[in-house]
Symmetry: C2
């Protein structure tokens, strides 16, 4: 019996062995990420793992190729506002350009959103380009405001 798309492309948390499966190459499709040593990767992995449920990176591994083909992260911000409320921030969602159209992005976003809900966040937010707005609307998001940025030299 053939495996379903969901079985072939299951969502799971990032593992330390995923650097060897193209995780960093995948991030390069989103922004600069061209020199991360094994040591730097492992140090950052442990920093983030120490945050437990307050920081989750999800990935989809293509069973056939053994490559990481989609990822996205969520971190949980603890506030005083909203009666000591919590907010999930989704970041760095990317799907490999060779496997687009299989709803992998939506599955990653749903996984992160459900994580935020499960730990008691009152909302989950993210920033995206105007081009990606329709995708996030399909995932259940609505535009709320604008994102401002300052880059350091």
């Amino acid at each position: 019996m053939q495996k379903s798309e969901e079985e072939k492309y299951g969502v799971r948390k990032l593992q330390i062995s995923d650097k060897g499966k193209g995780f960093i190459d995948l991030l390069q499709q989103l922004s600069v990420c061209d020199s991360v040593s094994d040591k730097e990767f492992e140090d950052r992995f442990r920093d983030l793992a120490a945050l437990g449920d307050d920081h989750v990176i999800s990935v989809i591994e293509d069973e056939a190729s053994g490559r990481i083909v989609a990822t996205g992260s969520v971190f949980i911000e603890k506030k005083f506002l909203r009666n000591c409320g919590k907010v999930g921030h989704i970041e760095d969602v990317v799907v490999d350009s060779t496997v687009q159209g299989k709803q992998l992005g939506k599955r990653i976003v749903n996984f992160l959103t459900e994580h935020a809900r499960s730990v008691g966040c009152y909302k989950v937010i993210l920033d995206c380009s105007v081009d990606n707005k329709a995708f996030y609307e399909k995932c259940g998001f609505q535009q709320k405001s604008v994102q401002m940025a300052m880059y350091f030299a």
Copy 2:
């Protein structure tokens, strides 16, 4: 000799005693924050203090009244992207409605921005309403993208 505005309204980090100086009342001018017990405040304060430089809440205390009249926070997100880069996220900036026009908001934002820069962030970002965009442009920010949100029931 009269004190300058900067002396009267210096920026410092939040202290656990600031709940008694109207810190929570100030947050209520931004969004719902109507029932935070002393115990909840202290627990959240300690959670956040444990993050060290990765989470800073700044406040301005009015020397004359002993009240907290401005606040804003920044937390530092650690990424794999951008070669294990770091991003500062500014949140929950509010100035007491009775002391507007004294550039307290700008001073809070500068404090948070400089913190992000000092710990090695490559950028600092925030979300704001279209109405507040001009204020953040004066602080050195530029619009980058749109913010999407999903609220949980």
